[in-house]
């Protein structure tokens, strides 16, 4: 059972454009939503994260938008660069306990010059 649905599976964006990746979750007990970035040959690394008590979080060119009522959240990459080409995973977890993370299926982003 896929508890975090992610789309699209792949995305091609021109340099300078906006990349948008969407995720939806089912479990209302989730209360922390990180995004991970994975470059080829490397493990995923935390990019940015949000708690559901805020609707938006921005770090540099990366912004998470969160819609609690719709149980959806998205990653926006402004002014996309070729160096942003990577696979992005959204994730969700319930705080406390063993912090088991549920990951989305991943989006492979390619930014072309």
């Amino acid at each position: 059972q896929q508890q975090v649905k992610q789309s699209p599976q792949s995305l091609i964006v021109q340099k300078g454009g906006i990349s948008i990746i969407n995720c939806a979750y089912e479990n209302t007990a989730f209360d922390y939503f990180p995004w991970y970035q994975q470059f080829p040959g490397k493990g995923p690394a935390l990019l940015i994260a949000i708690r559901p008590d805020v609707s938006e979080k921005k770090e540099g060119r990366f912004t998470i938008s969160f819609n609690k009522s719709a149980k959806q959240f998205s990653l926006h990459i402004m002014d996309s660069q070729p160096g942003d080409s990577a696979t992005y995973f959204c994730a969700a977890l319930r705080s406390g306990g063993y912090q088991k993370v549920t990951f989305g299926t991943g989006t492979k982003l390619q930014v072309i010059p």
Binding site: Q6, Q9, D31, Y32, P34, G41, K42, G43, P44, A45, L46, A49, R51, F89, L93, S95, G96, Y98, Q99, K100, V101, F103, G104, T105, G106
Partner: protein, 115 residues
């Protein structure tokens, strides 16, 4: 700097073999995890451990077991490897510390092929 080291980057084994994947972290983290990564399926949790000698099943534990004899080391065992276990395996660690805004730290993965 945080470091999670997986013993092999690439591994080729035969059907029926017993396979060991090793992971070591140098951060004194309490929690350790094993995932497999497959195209279109994302990261799926196989097993995790929250303390030495403790383990919990993840979402897809069938065909796997784990061992955690020391805090820094977490081993994934394929008891009798099958071709459907060909995949990328990722190890991660996480501090139990206060708050939940602690990232999981991943190794660079082991690409395992079962022939």
């Amino acid at each position: 700097d945080v470091k999670v080291t997986q013993s092999s980057r690439y591994l080729v084994k035969r059907t029926g073999e017993k396979v060991f994947l090793e992971c070591v972290q140098d951060m004194d983290h309490e929690n350790m995890f094993w995932y497999r990564q497959d195209p279109g399926l994302g990261l799926r949790l196989i097993y995790f451990s929250y303390d030495v000698k403790m383990k919990e099943k993840g979402d897809i534990p069938e065909g796997y077991s784990v061992s955690r004899e020391k805090k820094e080391r977490f081993s994934l065992i394929l008891e009798s490897a099958s071709t459907n276990q060909t995949s990328m395996y990722l190890c991660a660690s996480l501090t139990q510390g206060r708050g939940y805004n602690q990232p999981q730290h991943f190794g660079d993965g082991t690409r395992l092929s079962i022939l």
